[in-house]
């Protein structure tokens, strides 16, 4: 029946695979941290246990195990013990079932490390920072980079000769060192920009001009530390695509036909843009987990730092929560790209209509 609607079938098929990937990814992300030897309670007890008597320490440890649902509980809510009186640990599978049940009700669990904060709260507080740091940078970097790359492709010659190696060199610099250098030169030595933080420490977030102004002012250095290198990389890619397209037959044909330059450029960009779009969507998808180092350098309390501390402390619920968000974002981005390319790239469309895949 669906053979008559190749588009719908295409979307459903793709969507089906992505959903399957999602399920597998969530399961893997659940079991992965639990494969290690240390459970988070050991880490907490190591930090907080000094000076306690053995009895008191044991009681505390059991209280944590119970609170974090790492042990089996009987119907009365007490810990089930084995023959020697030790608490019986809940198997990974039981924990998984528990986790799935809770997720459906929207409860992603309570963080072990930031107890009693809920994982969802931590994520919701951190995500705006990560997005605020990355989204404009990626968008701007992509647009400017591609424009410059297209320019270089079209008008080769002197501009290209200098621009190209320059962009290449720029994109070879590790971006975090660039950020550190920017801080050093512009914040420490020259004092033109603040060295850290999302906004001035003496302001409370509100819908006021002074707040937005402070945010923008603090954003300049982090923005440039990522933007310049990103734009460089994009420009190079676009330049290659642009040159490639310029040499194709259809462009030559269009030129001979006498089409206006603007028209030609439009066709050129549309076709050269495709692989760049893929790159953009992928960047946006992985954006949530990226920029960890930039967050560290500029003290932005984003998701990257939250994830790093969670992993180092074996904070299972946090790790699960953050990886869940990343999974969802990346898969949605990939899915969108696949569909977009399906619509934009006429070759794929043709392939579909001919009944193949």
């Amino acid at each position: 029946m669906l053979k008559q609607y190749p588009t719908a079938r295409f979307i459903l098929q793709r969507g089906g695979w992505y959903f399957l990937t999602f399920l597998v990814a969530v399961t893997i992300n659940f079991f992965l941290p639990r494969l290690g030897d240390n459970n988070p309670v050991d880490i907490i007890m190591g930090k907080a246990g000094s000076g306690l008597s053995t009895e008191a320490a044991k009681e505390k440890e059991e209280a944590y195990l119970k609170e974090f649902k790492l042990v089996k509980l009987n119907d009365a809510g007490e810990i089930v013990r084995d023959d020697v009186g030790k608490p019986v640990r809940a198997s990974s599978f039981e924990q998984f079932v528990n986790y799935v049940k809770m997720s459906f009700s929207g409860d992603l669990g309570t963080s072990f490390q930031k107890y009693p904060k809920k994982v969802l709260d931590v994520i919701l507080e951190a995500v705006p920072w990560t997005i605020a740091l990355q989204l404009p940078t990626i968008a701007f970097g992509w647009i400017v980079g591609n424009l410059l790359g297209a320019l270089a492709a079209y008008r080769r010659g002197l501009f290209d000769r200098f621009f190209f190696p320059g962009a290449l060199f720029l994109s070879a610099i590790p971006f975090f060192v660039f950020g550190m250098l920017l801080v050093y030169v512009f914040a420490v030595i020259l004092g033109w920009f603040p060295a850290m933080g999302g906004y001035a420490s003496d302001i409370i977030p509100s819908f006021s001009f002074s707040f937005f102004g402070s945010v923008a002012y603090h954003y300049v250095l982090p923005f440039f530390s990522i933007f310049l290198i990103l734009a460089g990389g994009q420009a190079i890619g676009m330049r290659s695509m642009g040159i490639y397209e310029l040499g194709t037959d259809y462009i030559k044909y269009a030129k001979w036909l006498g089409l206006k330059e603007g028209r030609i450029l439009m066709y050129l960009f549309r076709n050269a843009m495709l692989p760049q779009l893929t790159g953009l969507a992928l960047s946006l998808g992985t954006m949530i987990g990226g920029a960890l180092i930039t967050e560290m350098i500029f003290s932005y309390p984003g998701l990257g730092m939250a994830m790093l501390t969670a992993i180092q402390n074996n904070d299972y619920p946090m790790i699960q929560g953050v990886t869940l968000i990343i999974t969802v974002c990346v898969l949605i981005a990939n899915f969108t790209v696949d569909i977009l390319i399906g619509f934009l790239d006429p070759r794929v469309k043709a392939g579909l209509q001919m009944g193949g895949n």
Partner: protein
């Protein structure tokens, strides 16, 4: 057309910036203040005690969970009965004052002027509530108090006309029998409003665990000079309570100088230094290397030249005394002689320490009366490569070298090849990493096959109580309390809860398993001295006891102290606030004004002109 593209290229991202900063502005769990910002001349910026997101301000939560200033021992919001002054070793009054201390009880009078922020007085009910919480609820964070205090008697006395409640904390003679630790507790445990929490417990069906989960961040009932104004993942803001009872009763009616105290939460170590230099941070409790280079930016420390800081803690190598060859005291002493302490002092901690002396007693400050330089020379080992090599040779150990001259492995007396030893230390703590690296260099030069074993925090913390290490980098008994230096000896040498390495066995002190009670070399003197010292009040007897204990430590070397670091780092900026306590102006101890007897600094700060 190109212009259109250009303006789109510029306009779109700008719009995006505006939209995303909207996101940043929308936060939950924020208390809004009616002030639009915090004026710099009324705000004190302190940092170095809050590293992660503030999760709870509940004074009943575990001390490592609660955010600054509710966790640990801070006394800006909730106050303890007493405060310890690390400068002169005296106990100062806060909510209470110490009347007497002997081996049977400690007696404290509650200041009749002490009041909660809702107007109710601070009473013995509040004190008994928090100290005896462990009797009723197993999961109480202060549960360990009942191991030392068998009961609290309440009397009423007439103090110059004012009715005063007198509390007698009875030493549990059948249990731990340790009045010294009780004194520790009296200055560490903060008093909470029992009327508030009893109410919460009743509402929750007498479930302490669910009460512990409350955030207690909205208009909390406190007794201290400041209360919580607002907080986020970037900072915690306290506001001055002008009706604080202590202003009149303890500070002659004066108010603390800063109206707001803000603790910014930095994600990277170098931010503290940068902020101090720019005058955005007023004081910091972090390790900042080469602090003398920041003098030109108005950054100062307690002392104007080396060691800049007042020593208070001993980072050391804890040695696992159950593993060969570390179970051989000659081997341990040889290790101690092979470490270049001078390099560690200079390179790892920027010279922030006086020269280290052998033993567990610090040669300066309040402990110095127990330090005996002659005994240290006689019994202890300092850096001496030749002596180290000789000790190893005398004990029968041989070092086998590779063709290029580097160390390959060691053999013991029987000729058996010994495994490489690792010093476990958490990766990322730069000053500890430097110490371990320098120590390893010295050890290998002496022919001892040791390597750095940097591990993630997740592997380091559990390894400590379980004894899963050859050598562990640690800083036991790091807080300055009245029970020093006894608590340092207890943390390193006590066999009270001795359990071998393996299985589920965990030890919370003496993680190196020194002095096993089952072994034939067991020295009962150690434990008997550790039991006796808290009950000894005669100075001469104390000196003798500490001297003996320290000698045993130096001879057996179960741990190797590396350097004397301060208990709290203390660097401050005079750009905005001046009259900080310092060596020349020693009116308060060398620490940030937020714990123990250092809080009084807040009333003495002045604005710079």
């Amino acid at each position: 057309m190109r212009d259109a593209k250009l303006s789109a290229a510029v306009g779109l991202p700008l719009a995006l910036v505006a939209v995303t900063s909207l996101f940043v502005g929308c936060k939950k769990d924020q208390q809004t203040s009616d002030t639009n910002g915090f004026p710099r001349s009324q705000t004190l910026y302190l940092a170095g005690s809050q590293w992660g997101d503030p999760s709870t301000f509940n004074p009943l939560a575990e001390s490592w969970q609660a955010a600054w200033p509710v966790g640990d021992r801070f006394n800006l919001m909730y106050e303890p009965l007493l405060a310890y002054n690390s400068l002169d070793g005296k106990v100062e009054p806060i909510l209470g004052s110490l009347v007497s201390k002997n081996n049977d009880s400690l007696v404290v009078d509650i200041n009749p002027a002490a009041k909660w922020s809702d107007g109710k007085p601070v009473t013995s009910d509040d004190v008994k509530f928090i100290f005896e919480l462990g009797r009723k609820y197993k999961s109480a964070a202060t549960g360990f108090a009942i191991e030392f205090i068998s009961g609290i008697n309440v009397d009423t006395v007439d103090n110059a006309g004012a009715k005063t409640e007198r509390l007698s904390f009875l030493v549990d003679k059948k249990g731990r029998n340790n009045p010294l630790v009780i004194l520790d507790l009296l200055q560490a445990i903060r008093i909470v409003p029992s009327h508030v929490f009893k109410d919460l417990l009743a509402k929750s069906g007498d479930n302490l665990d669910s009460v512990k989960k409350l955030k207690v961040d909205q208009n909390p009932v406190v007794s201290g000079p400041y209360t919580l104004n607002t907080y986020s993942n970037e900072k915690i803001v306290l506001e001055r309570r002008d009706d604080y009872w202590g202003n009149a009763a303890l500070h002659e009616g004066k108010l603390p100088a800063p109206k707001f105290i803000i603790h910014p939460i930095y994600k990277s170590n170098d931010h503290f230094a940068i902020a101090l230099q720019k005058g955005d941070l007023d004081a910091s409790q972090t390790f900042i290397p080469r602090i003398w280079m920041k003098k030109k930016d108005n950054v100062s420390t307690w002392m104007e030249k080396a060691p800049y800081f007042v020593p208070g803690a001993l980072p050391m190598f804890i040695i696992n005394c159950t593993r060969a060859p570390l179970n051989d005291k000659a081997f341990r002493r040889a290790m101690a002689a092979a470490i270049n302490y001078g390099d560690i002092k200079e390179l790892a901690v920027s010279g922030y320490s006086p020269d280290i002396q052998p033993g567990l007693i610090m040669p300066s400050g309040i402990e110095s009366k127990y330090f005996n330089a002659d005994e240290a020379k006689k019994n202890g080992v300092g850096y001496n490569l030749e002596a180290a090599k000789k000790m190893l040779a005398d004990a029968g150990y041989k070092s086998v070298y590779k063709a290029d001259g580097t160390l390959d492995y060691m053999t013991d007396k029987a000729g058996k090849k010994l495994p490489t030893l690792f010093i476990k230390s958490p990766a990322g703590w730069s000053d500890w990493e430097a110490m371990v690296t320098i120590a390893v260099k010295g050890l290998r030069t002496a022919g001892i096959d040791v390597r750095e074993g940097f591990v993630d925090a997740g592997l380091y913390w559990p390894a400590k109580p379980s004894g899963d290490f050859d050598v562990l980098m640690d800083k036991p008994a790091a807080s300055i309390t009245p029970s020093l230096p006894w608590s340092r000896f207890e943390a390193v040498m006590s066999s009270r809860n001795w359990a071998p390495v393996g299985g589920d066995n965990k030890m919370n002190e003496n993680q190196g398993r020194y002095n096993s009670p089952k072994a034939k070399e067991y020295n009962p003197k150690v434990d008997s001295l550790l039991k006796a010292i808290p009950l000894t009040n005669d100075e001469a007897a104390l000196k003798a006891a500490y001297g003996e204990l320290n000698n045993i430590f130096m001879q057996d070397q179960p741990a190797i102290p590396l350097v004397n670091l301060p208990e709290q780092f203390y660097e401050f900026s005079t750009t905005v606030w001046t009259n900080w306590p310092s060596e020349k102006n020693a009116y308060a101890p060398a620490q940030l004004p937020w714990v123990s007897a250092g809080t009084k600094t807040l009333w003495q700060l002045k604005l710079a002109d």
